[in-house]
Each structure stands twice: as structure tokens, then as C-alpha cells.
Symmetry: C2
């Protein structure tokens, strides 16, 4: 199901700088990061909603997967990451599973957003500097967490192209 551009591959992920220690020169707080991610999740939700029901899982561009399949992958990566923030554990999801309709996709989307809102701000600060064993390699918690956001922006942007090709104006990128 995964395309070459969508599967993280381990040791080539962004490595933290050698002097990495958030306490020394913090760029942002955990609640800031969670709010940032939720803003992206809200925007992606609007992109999903913007697709006609009968095009979300069928319309394809450039030989790529329909946006419904990409959004399902975003959901699975996000859900795994939100669970990891809470438990520290990373369990690879069944990539072939997932909702097959817009209604079902939005329902699981909202459930993960609610879990992130409830537990995300209380993530153990140690999570971000510790190394974590993900299905696609070992990396610091910060790199693993921001990967979920990056993956979401990347695939959602491809959904923007599909919407434009369908003649639909996508939601404004800057509105979170």
C-alpha cells in the first residue's frame, strides 16, 4: 500500500544535532507542539470533507493513490504516534485496514483528535529526546513525532492537487 515517498526508512531520517538537549535551548513547549499538530489535523479534516463522497477513494492523479487511501495512511500513522505519546510504545498498524467511506474516516479522525487533545499535552518530556524503536527504524522521539505531522502535510498537499484537478477550491493552507 505504501509508496516510495511515504514510508520512512530508518537511519536516513533527520538526525538530531550532537548538542541536542531541549532543556538547554528550547524552541517550543509540548502544548505548543500539540496545538500545532491539532491545527494541521483540523485542516486535513476539511480537505477530506472537501472531496465528493464518490471521488475520495477513487479519483487518481499521476498514477498515485486516491486521497482517501493517503488520508487513511495519515490516520494510521497519526493514531500510532498519538498512542506512542501516551504509552511510549509503537505498534505497526495493519496498513490494509482502515475506513472505506468518508463518514467512517471522519469518525476515526475525530476519535484520534480527541485522544491527542486529552493526552498529548501531558506527554512525558523525556519522550522527545529518548530513542524510540519504530516499525521503520530507531530515532529520537522528537523526530518520530514531527514525522507524523510532516507525513500529513506531504500527503494532504497531494490531495490539494486532486481537488484542484476536480475543480474544487481547497481549504486555505494557512487556516488551522
Amino acid at each position: 500500500m505504501l509508496e516510495t515517498d511515504s514510508t520512512p526508512g530508518g537511519s536516513t531520517m533527520t538526525a538530531p544535532a550532537a548538542e541536542s538537549a531541549a532543556a538547554l535551548s528550547p524552541a517550543l513547549s509540548i502544548p505548543d507542539f500539540i496545538a500545532h499538530w491539532q491545527g494541521h489535523r483540523d485542516l486535513t479534516r476539511r480537505v477530506i470533507e472537501a472531496f465528493p463522497d464518490d471521488q475520495l477513494f477513487t479519483f487518481s492523479l499521476g498514477g498515485m493513490r486516491p486521497f482517501g487511501a493517503q488520508a487513511t495512511e495519515i490516520h494510521l500513522v497519526d493514531a500510532m504516534t498519538v498512542t506512542a505519546l501516551r504509552t511510549g510504545g509503537w505498534t505497526e498498524p495493519d496498513w490494509t485496514a482502515g475506513p472505506g467511506t468518508k463518514v467512517d474516516l471522519l469518525a476515526v479522525w475525530d476519535a484520534v483528535s480527541a485522544e491527542l487533545a486529552e493526552h498529548g499535552p501531558h506527554t512525558d518530556p523525556a519522550f522527545f529526546n529518548q530513542m524510540h524503536a519504530l516499525p521503520w527504524g530507531e530515532m529520537p522521539g522528537w523526530v518520530a513525532a514531527i514525522y507524523a505531522v510532516d507525513n500529513e502535510i506531504h500527503h494532504r498537499a497531494q490531495g490539494y492537487v486532486s481537488l484542484r484537478a476536480l475543480g474544487i477550491e481547497p481549504p486555505a493552507f494557512h487556516e488551522r
Copy 2:
């Protein structure tokens, strides 16, 4: 030049959580953030390089701008943000300016990456929590800084679609 999905618009940007104070629960360090951004800049550079010289500023999909125009906008936003990290000042660039060839685009790209590598890790930690007056509104430094990365991922992903439509395999998304 800017499309609806590409121009930040002020008050609707992600707001920081009320309890925001990086020192209380840091999610990442400044060097980590700079390394993360440089990884994205390296990837975007490879995406620019992957375009045939004669398609970078001409090939269009779904009525959208060619990737050369999008990459130029990424460059201008990044350059403005890198300067702000160093000086605290935000001067809106001339959006109609910019390199018109792949060689020139890569040259200015490398210059900004070098500036980010030299000065970015030494950004004043206060930058990230202070409010900043950007051309598109007032926002905390963290939100302004991550917007540059988000904008880059968003437009680059649309370049991926163009590359696939041109029959070219894009660089792997996870390799930074």
C-alpha cells in the same frame, strides 16, 4: 503570484496553548529544529534537481503554478525566516523577484542553507516565544518559524505530483 492555499493570513494561524512556556516542558532544542529544517531543505533541493531544466518553470498541473514558481516562493519565505532568526526582523520580499533558472535557484538555495547552518543554531531562545510582526500578521516566533517548514513541505509535495505526472520518480520523502 500567490495562490489562496499559499499565503498565510494572520489571525487564523495556529495559536500557542495558553500554558505555553518552552522552559516548562520543552519538546525540542533549537539545534534539533535547525537540523530538522535543513533535512527538509536538502530534500527540496533534490526535488528541484529532479525536474528537467526545461520543465521546472513551465510544467503545470491542475491549473497550478509550475514547481519552479512554488520553489521560488519557498525560497523567499525561507530566506526571510532565516534572516528573522538572526536579526528578529521580517521584511516582506518582492514575490515577483527570484531566480528564473534551475542553476540560479539552486545557487540561492545553497546560500540560504549556508546561512541557516551558520546562524540558525545560535538563534536567541527568546525568539520562539516572543510575538513577531510578519507581513501576514502577528504570531509567536515558533509558529512563524515552523510555518516556513510547513509551507516548504506543502508546496514540495505538489512538486512530487508533477514529477510523477512527468514520469519521474521523486526522491524518497523520508530521506533527509
